[in-house]
């Protein structure tokens, strides 16, 4: 992705509200046509970053560059960027057509041309033509979503920002709209910057992902990089169920877990490592029959099982800790609760991280 010329660059952007630092010295460069997603829990400062990019908030210090031009002082209505808001912010007193035409009306585009462009966008976003005169408050959630996107596209921006627009939509529709959004990204070739608190959503759509925590950007990478090599316990936990074992360095290359009273073979060790967490994903953890089947082995009791559709999740209790193991439905384990099971994994399937 680094081969693309940067459209947007953030240089040591900081934003404070009174005593509170919402965004802490962020450096980021986003390439032309990229789908970049910022992920973080609520209060991590991701919305503030987006609002600064859109021009609705100005940074306390640092610079925002658009194609090399400093745009800190350019107000939102003069920036060639446009935002789709969390609430969608559709104009409730206007029809679908009038909403989409709004940015064109602002620029004094003649009515006939506005209408033509609006209908074109509606077709592109699969909104029926007769919705043109429909009251926007009478539209369903998914339709409103499309109207908001059409309105933003009507502005013909270089870059589109999305502030968790799908957060209030039910699971199934959200999945459809995520794919549609990705299609629109591909068709328009515009740069998309998206924020969400769901790493799962980010994974589906993004070229690259930036993870934010407490106003800092803690990791930036492709979805694959974020998934396979998280650089902290925080990032690894963010991707959903994961097994985390607190460990410390024991002698030369072994890891000691004091809670479990066990010793593990480590994957590649970061230099200067002394204590941290060993991360094992549920699909890397296996239920095994013989101690020799895996490099690292623990013995525990089968605690509970959940059907996840195509897979089954097992919870195994080892001492005070519960481990999560996943198997395909076809390989279901026929064991009673509380029966003893052995779980194991190979060193290369685990990741060693700091806090």
């Amino acid at each position: 992705m680094t081969t693309r010329s940067p459209v947007i660059e953030l240089r040591q952007i900081t934003k404070t509200f009174g005593n509170f630092t919402a965004v802490h010295s962020i450096d980021l460069s986003i390439g032309e046509g990229e789908f970049f997603t910022i992920v973080g829990p609520s209060g991590s400062g991701k919305t503030t970053v987006l609002r600064m990019l859109a021009g609705l908030e100005s940074p306390t210090s640092g610079d925002i560059l658009l194609r090399g031009q400093r745009i800190n002082d350019v107000p939102a209505n003069r920036r060639p960027t446009c935002m789709v808001f969390q609430s969608l912010a559709l104009f409730p007193h206007r029809t679908v057509g009038q909403n989409i035409e709004f940015p064109l009306k602002i620029r004094d585009v003649p009515p006939a041309e506005r209408r033509q462009r609006a209908l074109q966008l509606m077709a592109q976003l699969r909104l029926p033509e007769d919705y043109y005169g429909k009251n926007v408050t009478k539209c369903s959630g998914g339709e409103r979503q499309r109207v908001a996107l059409a309105r933003a596209l009507a502005y013909n921006p270089d870059t589109l920002f999305f502030d968790e627009p799908l957060s209030a939509i039910d699971y199934k529709l959200r999945k459809t709209l995520e794919k549609e959004l990705k299609d629109i990204h591909r068709e328009t070739g515009k740069t998309f910057i998206y924020i969400t608190h769901s790493l799962e959503e980010a994974m589906v759509m993004s070229d690259r992902i930036g993870v934010m925590r407490s106003g800092r950007l803690v990791q930036v990478g492709t979805p694959n990089e974020i998934y396979t090599s998280p650089n902290s316990k925080f990032v690894s936990e963010f991707i959903g169920d994961v097994n985390i074992i607190p460990v410390r360095l024991n002698g030369g290359s072994k890891l000691q877990s004091d809670d479990l009273g066990a010793e593990f073979t480590a994957p590649g060790m970061p230099s200067g490592f002394s204590a941290g967490h060993l991360v094992v994903r549920p699909e890397s953890l296996r239920i095994i029959d013989r101690r020799e089947d895996a490099e690292n082995v623990l013995t525990g009791k089968l605690y509970n099982e959940y059907a996840l559709g195509s897979r089954i999740q097992y919870q195994v209790r080892v001492g005070e800790q519960v481990f999560i193991v996943e198997r395909l439905r076809q390989q279901a384990l026929n064991k009673q609760r509380d029966s003893e099971v052995m779980i194991g994994w190979n060193a290369r399937d685990s990741i060693l991280v700091g806090d």
Partner: protein, 269 residues
Amino acid sequence: MSPAERSQRWRAALLWAWALSVVVFMYLPAVCLLLASSTSSRYFIFPITRWGFDWWQKTFDSIQIHELFKTSISIALLVTVIAVTIAFFGALAFARYDWKGRSLYQKIVLLPIFFPQSVLGLALLLWFNALGLPLSWKTAVFAHLVWIVPVVTLVISIQVYSFDPALEEAAFDLGATRWQVMKEVTLPVLFPGIFSGCLFAFLLSWGNFPLSLFTTGADTTVPEYLYAKMVAGYTPGVPVLGTVSTITAAILLLGGYGLIVLRRRARLK
């Protein structure tokens, strides 16, 4: 600071200046009354040459004034109790329950607020006369209620709108009787609205003139007395009582809301 932020600050400063000028405008007459009440001379000439609180002393020593206060407070207290009781149920019908005819009901309830009070006072005078009721402070209570009940209903309704009916259903589901639901859930949750309603009822009755004018008969309230004195010629007793009225209203309102804030804070801790 960026230019955008600078212009935003400017705008905020202008808005502040404007709002504060309006506050000054609203309180200028009260300040004039205070000034006029703090002179020892019989006539008001500004700048004041002889400061003093003689007129405060004289006014408070007057037995007639005590009677006025008694009448005004009795009316206001009675109005508060009756208005809040009727308005509480009225507000539940206004904002809590969904029922056929509610939209029409809401507009009917608000109608008296949109009605010139002087005309309303005369209408009530005719009505009392037609019924053959002798005019006294009791008929004035009724007259005040006609205007104040709708206002208090509106005040309580705003609180009721933010009330989650699921709370009542949960209490019901947990075995409470209707009365217990009311006592344990509805009333405490709606308390701030009811309290505001009490304040509004008391103060609006306390300060009312147009409705009292035609309906009190031989009894006199403080605003009526003030009006009579004003028309009859200047006496520094008028600014004194005017200032007392303003300060009473300010203390009750600010104190009342102070209590609500304190209560909320105490509960958060």
